[in-house]
Symmetry: C2
Subunit: 250 residues, 2 copies
């Protein structure tokens, strides 16, 4: 048996957002590896071993997957959303680069998925319908000064912004600093969207302004989208519509 | 019959990247509306009317969809990739905002898809594995000065960047100016990826440096990804690996 690694995106939560390509990879796998809640989304079956691990062990998990593939196993590393956006793909390639030469011979493929910011944007309308930035607000792996610099530049460029990992128990103050910085650069009237657990039974959408936003509106399962100066809220009796027009006047 | 509009993303080209949610909407539709090559991806069947239109008529197409839904039709507006990223979702909401009050009562939903930059990133490894910007290089709907400003700020922030619509027959010089600007701000050694028609038989990936990149490497079916200063190319006998590490040192 020839081993391989597929780094697969399960989308934001609902099975109707999992691509057929990912479903097929899971059907062929001998092993599934990932963070506990993501592995829990894969149905057990004969011949499939599920390896669930805790958060913050991405490199260990990657090495485990690469080791198993070297032994001829067919391994799917599962991420929520898209594996290439603040998820497992970069971790696996970090492990490959630092690992034994044999890992560079392996068949490793990334299978894209619906990432959280695009699932959230779809629910709200089209807030990312024009130029935008995606920023990971976690300061686990980069200094806060770099996050603050990128926020300032994104605001100066009038990009819409999507934030991953806005807030965790271990660093409750970071998101408060983010909101303060954005209020001073974008103004209090700028639209902000909090999208929690989109496409799951726990889904909750909140649209407000930077002036009225509070840190408690975000948790670990929330993606946050801040509009550009052009982003608009359209009153509608049926659906929430927050969108950024395609054009910017001269 | 109660009409509705679903603005659906068909992904980058291969049917294995179309979500079950989109497939189900197409199965329920009475009408499919979109740009000719996207409508061509929908299989004809009894009871389904296909309305294919040319490029650059996004608002007409949106009004047509909203009109049909008002008459009780079930209308899917198809986009390639994700409809919320430089595609039809913003156009439909522009039409709703400017249109008759009855359009605001309509059931309108956006169904996300795999957008071109994430399909391209997956093929290459994980070049968007850290903070990044998505910029539409077309100056049809915004001034070049704004594009140039955003490119400079994104480079200053050391974001990776994904470019949509890098080059068209009507404005061949814009992408050359983009490459010149990036060479002067990011240096000639910065990695750049040209990903054409990912997941289709015409797929072609080219990885090079800004110093060696030429405008002719992009066309209308190409998405371009420029790495951050941290983006790396790993030599590998099996797969192309271009990735951006998750961490940035202090």
């Amino acid at each position: 048996m020839t081993g391989w690694v597929r780094i697969a995106g399960l989308g934001p939560g609902n099975d109707s957002l999992v691509t057929p390509e990912v479903t097929e990879a899971l059907a062929q796998a001998t092993d599934v590896i990932g963070y506990i809640p993501y592995v829990a989304r894969v149905a057990p079956r004969d011949g499939l071993t599920l390896h669930a691990s805790d958060n913050r062990v991405e490199l260990d998990r990657s090495r485990h997957a690469l080791d198993l593939a070297t032994q001829g196993r067919r391994v799917v590393v599962v991420s929520s959303g898209d594996p290439g956006v603040f998820a497992m793909a970069a971790a696996v390639f970090e492990a490959v680069e630092a690992g034994p030469a044999s890992w560079r011979q392996l068949d490793i493929t990334v299978l894209p998925g619906i990432t959280a910011m695009l699932a959230a944007a779809a629910r709200a309308g089209a807030p990312l319908g024009h130029d935008f930035c995606a920023i990971n607000l976690s300061d686990n792996l980069k200094p806060w000064s770099l996050i603050a610099k990128r926020l300032r530049l994104a605001a100066e460029g009038d990009f819409a912004m999507a934030f991953y990992n806005p807030r965790s128990k271990s660093r409750p103050e970071g998101f408060e600093k983010t909101l303060d910085l954005l209020r001073s650069t974008c103004g209090r009237d700028r639209l902000i969207l909090f999208a929690r657990a989109v496409s799951t039974p726990e889904e909750r959408l909140t649209v407000t302004t930077l002036g009225d936003a509070t840190p408690g509106m975000a948790d670990m399962r929330t993606v946050v989208i801040v509009g550009s100066s052009r982003t608009r809220l359209v009153e509608n009796s049926r659906n929430l519509i927050v969108y950024t027009p395609r054009s910017t006047p001269e």
